[in-house]
């Protein structure tokens, strides 16, 4: 009996001892983390929650009546990857917005995949649905009107809207998909004698494409424009599905939201990929580095335009938003045009746009979702790494300003090397899942990119 009690006691004491060791070890870890992990104020936590991908809204585009339609998404994907939309049949939208390069291209300014060099870096399509304006200079006010321009751009796909009309009439697969969504192609178009290619080129009236276009009767031109805008609307419906979620940062915010945690120690979870360094970077992002001033909301962008003081040469040669507004207001596919689905009399952001000399050299704030993978950076593509970008903004006062407008907030940030590094680590925590489930489901094509954690 004595022996049995004694054994139980020893076992009990040993258990208590190991339990004590275990608790003590946890406490030691917590203390260590607590001292390293930055404390966030209530105000900071409030702002952090607004950055989560959970805050993405699921609204459709009021200017596009097929926005969110499953059949339009599938047709749009078919068009997006088709080289038949280009003038020479060699490239597609995906040639420059390559899914393997995060719907962008890793080339800098010169786009080697097209016949002519571009003057700007190809932006990624991640989160493109949530932009207010499109292109670096905002010369389109909807995703569908944006999608039309590269098809006819002489530096990009070099196609024409008449060529697209001919393709939809003659290609059985395309025609079937198109008519299932938008109804029968008008007999007017089916019986018209269409040239091989034609498009309006208002800046060059002697252009062969333009001469061929003006020979077409206005009702035929209108039918072609309607068909062309429907192609843009389908491509846009597909592109709207490119939303990145569930990054390590989003998981960190989910812990903030769900578990109502209050102390820095409780927020830390070594398994979720959001490191102490990333947290320190986030703290800088919200404060000393001032990134939050322009990069806010779940898309990490204000969707507006700013001067980033890049090389003076690029400023003189590229006026950005200043030219973009003029192109926007004269675009027949804009929100005031005949082809938009915005209801007459409803509020339209175009009503409030104006031209201001201060807009010279301004370019759109890009999203930071998946930013590590969407290199190179800036509209010129002149920085290869995030480290270069952070260092540029950290030392910006050494750059020259411009007369028209001064982003006087852009000053040297006085960040240490370690702080620059922490900011980069935080930006890397914005890499998320590649969500393509809707597009994949309706396209009938497999896509190895779907669901990859990167």
């Amino acid at each position: 009996m004595t022996s049995r009690i004694s054994t139980a006691s020893i076992f009990y004491i040993a258990s208590l001892f190991f339990a004590f060791l275990s608790v003590n070890a946890t406490a030691t870890t917590a203390t260590k983390v607590s001292s390293d992990f930055p404390a966030f104020s209530k105000k900071e936590i409030q702002i952090i929650k607004t950055l989560s991908s959970q805050r993405y809204t699921n609204t459709s585009d009021v200017s596009n009546h097929v926005s969110g339609s499953a059949s339009a998404i599938a047709f749009g994907k078919q068009l997006f990857f088709s080289k038949k939309l280009s003038g020479d049949g060699v490239i597609s939208c995906a040639s420059c917005h390559n899914p393997k390069e995060d719907w962008a291209t890793h080339d800098a300014i010169t786009v080697k995949r097209t016949a002519y060099p571009s003057t700007r870096h190809v932006p990624s399509l991640w989160g493109v649905k949530y932009n207010r304006w499109y292109f670096w200079d905002g010369r389109a006010d909807s995703l569908w009107s944006q999608a039309l321009q590269p098809i006819e751009n002489i530096s990009e796909m070099r196609g024409s809207r008449v060529q697209i009309a001919r393709l939809l009439i003659s290609d059985f697969s395309f025609r079937k998909s198109y008519e299932a969504i938008f109804g029968r192609i008008p007999t007017l178009l089916l019986h018209a004698k269409l040239p091989f290619r034609a498009r309006p080129v208002e800046t060059e009236k002697t252009n062969a494409d333009h001469l061929a276009w003006v020979k077409l009767k206005p009702p035929v031109q209108h039918a072609i424009n309607t068909l062309f805008s429907n192609v843009g609307k389908s491509i846009a419906a597909f592109e709207e599905t490119l939303v990145s979620k569930d990054s390590p940062f989003d998981q960190f915010v989910a812990r903030l939201t769900k578990e109502k945690l209050n102390t820095p120690t409780e927020l830390f979870d070594s398994d979720n990929g959001f490191s102490v360094s990333a947290a320190k970077g986030l703290k800088l992002f919200l404060g000393k580095a001032k990134c939050i001033t322009c990069h806010f909301g779940p898309n990490f962008s204000d969707g507006e335009f700013h001067h980033s003081f890049l090389s003076p040469v690029s400023l003189q040669g590229d006026l950005g938003r200043y030219d973009g507004i003029q192109l926007l207001l004269t675009n027949p596919f804009n929100g005031h045009g005949k082809f938009t689905d915005i209801k007459k009399g409803s509020r339209n952001k175009l009503d409030f746009v104006y031209l201001n000399v201060e807009f010279r050299g301004q370019f759109k704030t890009p999203s930071l979702r998946n930013v590590e993978r969407t290199f190179p950076y800036m509209h010129t593509g002149e920085f290869k790494t995030l480290k270069d970008v952070i260092h540029y903004y950290n030392t910006i006062s050494k750059r020259k300003s411009v007369n028209d407008h001064q982003e006087i907030l852009l000053k040297s940030l006085e960040l240490s090397k370690a702080e620059e590094k922490n900011l980069v680590v935080f930006l890397k925590s914005l890499n998320g899942y590649r969500t393509l489930s809707v597009a994949q489901k309706h396209s009938g094509e497999s896509n190895t990119e779907t669901g990859d954690k990167l």
Binding site: I292, T293, G297, D351, F352, V353, E358
Partner: protein, 154 residues
């Protein structure tokens, strides 16, 4: 010696007349409007104009103005003692971030509803931080202004 007197006189004119005149011209820029003390009434903010001719009431209030979302502003101009105005008025609106050296990226549409009431459509504060909001009220050739500072939160 006479020449020296002339030079000194010209110098005095430059110092005491021309330079102050230039400086005063600079002060006539719209930025000289002083921010007013705002009174909060539920979801309405109330201001007195600089020349004390009018009271400006507007909603949403300054602490409810959204970040980077278009919004409309309902404005009512009343007399200094809150009387309803029966004479015609015009109103202009301006807003910007002094620390950033920029105004709004939009020009809102102002609809005059009569009796001092205005609807301002398409306001947009596209960045977080300190903004000013300025009302310029015109009656014929006379004008008066009111300005308030506000913080648009992230």
């Amino acid at each position: 010696m006479k020449m020296l007197h002339v030079i000194v006189r010209v110098f005095k004119i430059i110092i005491f007349v021309l330079i102050p005149a230039i400086l005063m011209t600079g002060c006539n820029q719209p930025s000289d409007v002083m921010a007013m003390e705002a009174v909060q009434l539920d979801n309405t903010t109330q201001l007195q104009t600089q020349g004390k001719a009018y009271t400006v009431l507007f909603s949403p209030a300054i602490d409810s103005m959204p970040l980077n979302k278009y919004f409309d502003l309902d404005v009512q101009i009343k007399g200094a003692t809150y009387q309803t105005l029966t004479f015609p008025l015009d109103m202009e609106i301006d807003a910007g971030m002094k620390a950033h050296n920029h105004s709004m990226n939009v020009i809102p549409r102002i609809i005059n509803l009569g009796e001092g009431k205005f609807r301002v459509e398409g306001m947009l504060f596209h960045m977080p931080g300190k903004w000013f909001l300025r009302f310029i009220i015109r009656r014929g050739a006379m004008s008066d202004k009111a300005e308030v500072n506000l913080v648009v939160a992230s």
